[in-house]
Symmetry: C2
Subunit: 252 residues, 2 copies
Amino acid sequence: MAPRAASKTAESSDKVGVICRALRRAIIEQALEPGAKLPEDSLGERFGVSRTIARHALGQLAAEGLVELRRNRIAVVATPSWQEARDAFDIRIELERLVVRQLAGKLTKNQIAELTAHVDAEDRARDGSDAVSIRLATEFHILLAHMTNSPILVRYVSEVAYRCCLTLSLYSRPHSSECAINEHRAIIAALVKGDEAKVMGLMHSHLDSVANRALVAPAPQRGRDLLEILAPYAEERDGGRVVKLSKVVRAR
Amino acid sequence: MAPRAASKTAESSDKVGVICRALRRAIIEQALEPGAKLPEDSLGERFGVSRTIARHALGQLAAEGLVELRRNRIAVVATPSWQEARDAFDIRIELERLVVRQLAGKLTKNQIAELTAHVDAEDRARDGSDAVSIRLATEFHILLAHMTNSPILVRYVSEVAYRCCLTLSLYSRPHSSECAINEHRAIIAALVKGDEAKVMGLMHSHLDSVANRALVAPAPQRGRDLLEILAPYAEERDGGRVVKLSKVVRAR
DNA sequence: GACGCCTGAATTGCATGCAATTTGACGGCC
DNA sequence: GGCCGTCAAATTGCATGCAATTCAGGCGTC
């Protein structure tokens, strides 16, 4: 397989690209949880570059929605709201339907082998950490997108898939990505068979079920967004005295 | 209406955002044609900032696909291939179907008024320059996207719409955006009526016809990408002698 | 006359430095 | 004991400087 020459859009300058890829991976594997701080010079030091480069990388990731950039404040890993997560999945469904529509019946033998190999790898990773499973599942979809040979589609699918991955780590209960592997196999089979409508339906229900398994409750379970979670309790009383929020706000 | 606080994803640092917006607008109004050079310090000087900022802005625009960034070379306005243009439209169709699906029957009075006012402005701009007409037509779609209140959708629709706009300037013959105004009115009407299927169909055929009016021939008519255009002729002979391409390459 | 090389000017790649802002912690006050 | 103002440390915002690369034009050669 060709060493997929630096995804072209940006991050071409390599140094920036390396940092972007590393951070993306760290984020989707949850080594960096949503809300984690990303100071420019720590990053620069870690990767052996100056702040200028680290800053540029953060800019790119912010454009992708993985990182939140606040003026004069330390950048943090993004914490998408539940609604944003839902929106991301809606978009993802449409984009990936487009992918499989373009791919149905048009896969080469090599591509089929590559996809199968990937799903096999997913299978083998079942026993490993959840983080790796989730990353592999995401990469399956990105691999599909690559096969369309449409750089734009690749970029959007990748972005939105990463975003979804990030939200999964926020809102889903553990082990929610288990049974996805069979669905991946079914999609490959339908692609090979060339049944456009069928494979679009499969992809739709696959993503829909991933989303539904994950986004059951509108209220986050492991919330970092304390302020938002506690908003309804702001006026709550604690033994007759109004509880001040300042302490909680500090804790943020 | 709230002054829609700086599109949030990036370009928040204002200075970068200002340059991005200015360049985007210049590009879609064709003040900057595809292939136009964008040297960092000229930009910086023009906007009264240092190269650092100009560079950052170029990075953002590159991520959006409006600018091409080649290592150690002057950045240029992107010149999407015909295939990329087609892909962009395909994606755009799906995204905008999603927009109107979410919006059907849910518009407030204010929003309806805003949309109507915008189309009226498009009407008034008919006599003006083509560039302005095209920009307004594009902004109609972005305005719709904003009304979904989904930042992700806004970002993707904006991006892909700008990209399409850029390709229109490359491949379309003049005056191809004329009759779109009535289609915009029809879409508003269907949105108000709340007929989801109808409005999705309308949006689909609207964009499809824009694309088809523009992207009729796979071969660009006003090509800037000389190298690509001339590739088939590379071995062509000119009166018995092989024509060297170096001169043409220089002209790029 | 056209091609190719070679050199100065232009331009980018990146690091660093300084000013401005935020952070968070300490001490005083109610 | 908890709240608020003040101040040093940490951090970002941005400009500038230097090295490396590319670009453009002139010269010599075929």
